[in-house]
C-alpha cells in the first residue's frame, strides 16, 4: 500500500505536524509520499524530502494553492488520489478544511483527528471532548484521514526523497477567492509544537494583564502563550490562542494553566501534556485533578513571584 500525506506549510516553512503525520502514515505499513501544494514553496518541498521514511515528494506549484483554499486543494488531491490507498493530512485548520471535501468527492467517510493507528484500516480517535476513545474500522477502499499530530512522534533519521512536479492541467474551481488575512505576529514559539505553554483564563480579566503578567514569563522560559475559551471570547487574546476541544490540541513538556478552572472542553486540548501545573485560587477547581503540581494562590500575587523565581 502507498499513502499520500498532504504537507502543512505557509509556502516558506514546513510544519512539524507534517512529519508527525508521516509517522502515522508509516504505521499503516507501505510507502509514504508527501504532497507539497503551494506557491513558490520549493524550499518546503526540499524540507519534506528530508523527513525520515518519505519515498517521494510531489510538488504542485500554483497561485491557486498559495493560501491552501479548500476548493483548489481538494481538486488537486483528488486528481492525484488514484495511485494511493490512503490520504492523510495534519488536523490543523487547513487539513480540517480541505480533507472532508476530498473525502466526499471520493465517496469516502473521513476518519477525523486520529490519535492511534491499529492497522491499515483500524484507527483510534477521541470522541466527546476526549471523555471516550473509539476504535473504528473503515470499509472504504481508500482511506481519508486527518491526524492529531501531538499523538505521534516525528520519524527518526533523515530522508532523501526525490521531488517530482505534479498538478499540471488540474482545473482549480473559481468559486472562492482569498481576500486577506490578519495573522497573529509573535516572536514566541508556535503554540501547537512548543515545548512549554503557559495559558491564561478568565481570571486574567484583561488583555493588559496577559501582557504584564503572562507574556514576560513566557518570554523568560521560551514558552508559547495559550488561553481558555473564556479568555478568547472576552477578547483578551486572539482566537488562535485557544486551547481545547474545538481550538488547538497541545501536548508540551510543560503546561502551566493560570486562572483556568478546567472545563472538560479545555482539558481535551491539554491533558496529554507531560507535566501540568495549575495556579488557581479556587482549590476545588477541576484543573487540579489533572495537574501534577497545583498551587492554590491568587495569580496576581503568584505570577510576579514566579517571574522573579525563574
Amino acid at each position: 500500500m502507498t499513502a499520500l500525506v498532504i504537507a502543512e506549510h505557509d509556502n516558506e516553512t514546513l510544519s512539524d505536524a507534517t512529519a508527525k503525520t508521516v509517522a502515522a502514515a508509516s504505521e499503516m505499513g507501505g510507502d509514504v509520499h508527501v504532497l507539497v501544494a503551494g506557491s513558490g514553496a520549493g524550499a518546503v518541498a526540499e524540507a519534506a524530502a528530508k523527513i525520515g521514511g518519505v519515498a517521494k515528494v510531489l510538488h504542485a506549484d500554483g497561485e491557486a494553492y498559495a493560501k491552501q483554499l479548500a476548493e483548489p486543494m481538494a481538486a488537486l488531491i483528488v486528481s492525484l488520489a488514484d495511485g494511493y490507498d490512503a490520504l492523510l493530512a495534519p488536523a490543523g485548520t487547513d487539513g480540517k478544511n480541505y480533507m472532508p471535501r476530498v473525502a466526499a468527492l471520493l465517496d469516502v467517510m473521513q476518519i477525523s483527528a486520529i490519535t492511534g493507528v491499529e492497522s491499515a484500516d483500524t484507527f483510534v480517535r477521541p470522541i466527546y471532548a476526549g471523555n471516550a476513545v473509539s476504535t473504528v474500522q473503515s470499509s472504504d477502499a481508500k482511506k481519508v484521514i486527518t491526524v492529531q499530530p501531538t499523538a505521534f512522534d516525528a520519524p527518526a533519521g533523515e530522508g532523501s526523497a526525490s521531488v517530482e512536479q505534479v498538478g499540471d492541467g488540474v482545473d482549480a474551481p473559481s468559486v472562492s477567492e482569498f481576500v486577506g488575512e490578519e495573522l497573529t505576529e509573535s516572536e514566541r514559539p508556535d503554540l501547537s509544537s512548543a515545548k512549554i505553554v503557559i495559558s491564561g483564563g478568565r481570571a486574567l480579566q484583561s488583555g493588559e494583564n496577559f501582557e504584564t503578567l503572562i507574556y514576560p514569563i513566557a518570554d523568560k522560559i521560551g514558552a508559547a502563550v495559550g488561553a481558555s475559551r473564556a479568555a478568547v471570547d472576552a477578547g483578551y487574546v486572539p482566537n488562535d490562542y485557544q486551547v481545547g476541544q474545538t481550538g488547538k490540541v497541545v501536548a508540551p513538556e510543560l503546561y502551566i494553566a493560570v486562572g483556568i478552572s478546567g472545563a472538560i472542553q479545555h482539558l481535551a486540548g491539554m491533558k496529554d501534556s507531560k507535566v501540568i501545573v495549575a495556579i488557581n485560587k479556587d482549590e476545588e477547581a477541576p484543573i487540579f485533578s489533572v495537574a501534577d503540581y497545583g498551587l492554590v494562590a491568587d495569580l496576581y500575587d503568584a505570577l510576579p513571584k514566579l517571574k522573579d523565581a525563574l
Binding site: 471535501r101 467517510m109 476513545v133 468559486v175 512549554i196 482566537n239 485557544q242 510543560l254
Partner: protein, 249 residues
Amino acid sequence: MKILVPVKRVVDYNVKVRVKPDQSGVDLANVKMSMNPFDEIAVEEAVKLKEAGTAEEVVVVSIGPEKAQDQIRQGLAMGADRGILITSDEDVESLGVAKILKAICEEEKPDIVLLGKQAIDDDRNQTGQMLAALMGWSQGTFASKLVKEGDKLHVTREVDGGLQTVALSLPAVVTTDLRLNEPRYASLPNIMKAKKKPLDKKAVGDMGVDVSPRLKTLKVTEPPKREAGIKVESVEELVDKLKNEAGVL
C-alpha cells in the same frame, strides 16, 4: 435569499458522558440532550441575516430520532420560519448526512447553508465541507464573521495563524466557529409561536440516498486516567519541583 440551517441533537455540553461497561459506546440513557452549540450559533446568524433584511427565509433541518423535533422547535423559537425533520433510528455518518442534505438542497435551493463546524459528540468536523463538495459549492469553514458584499459572501475564518477572509460565490456552505455570535435565548411567547410553525417530516428511507455506514466502531473505552499530583505551598517550591523533580525547566 434563503438560508438552510442543519442542526444536530447531541448530548448537552455540560454532561460528562460515561463509557458503557461492554465498550459498545457511551451511555445515553436519561442524559440531557441539546442542540449542538455550534449549530445554535448557525441558527442565530441566519436569524440575524433575516432580521437585517439580507435573508427572507430560514429553514432548520435535522436528521436524527423523532425527538430531534425538540431541537428544530428550538430553532423555530429563535426565529427560523419552518423545519424539516428526517427521521432515522440509526446514527447516520457525516457522509450520509451530507448526501441527505444534498437531496434537500436540490429541492429547497438555498443560497447559503449555515451549520456548526463540528458536533460536540463525535468531534468529526466534516459535514459542511462534504456537502459543499457534493454540491460543487464554495465553502467558508470556522467562520467568525459573515458579510454580504454585492453578489459575494465574505467569510472571515478562524485559522491556526489568526484570521483569514475569503470571498465566496453563492450558493455556499458556511460552518460556524465560536466567535461568530452569542445565540439568543428563545422567549416564552416565541416558544409558543414556534409550536405552530410548519414542520415537515420524512423518514430517511424515503430520501433515496444510500446512508449505509462505512465505519464500524469496534470498541469505545475510557481515556487513560491522569492521576492528580501534589499541591505545592509556594512559588519557590513549585519552581524547585519543576527544575529538580520534573526536570522540565
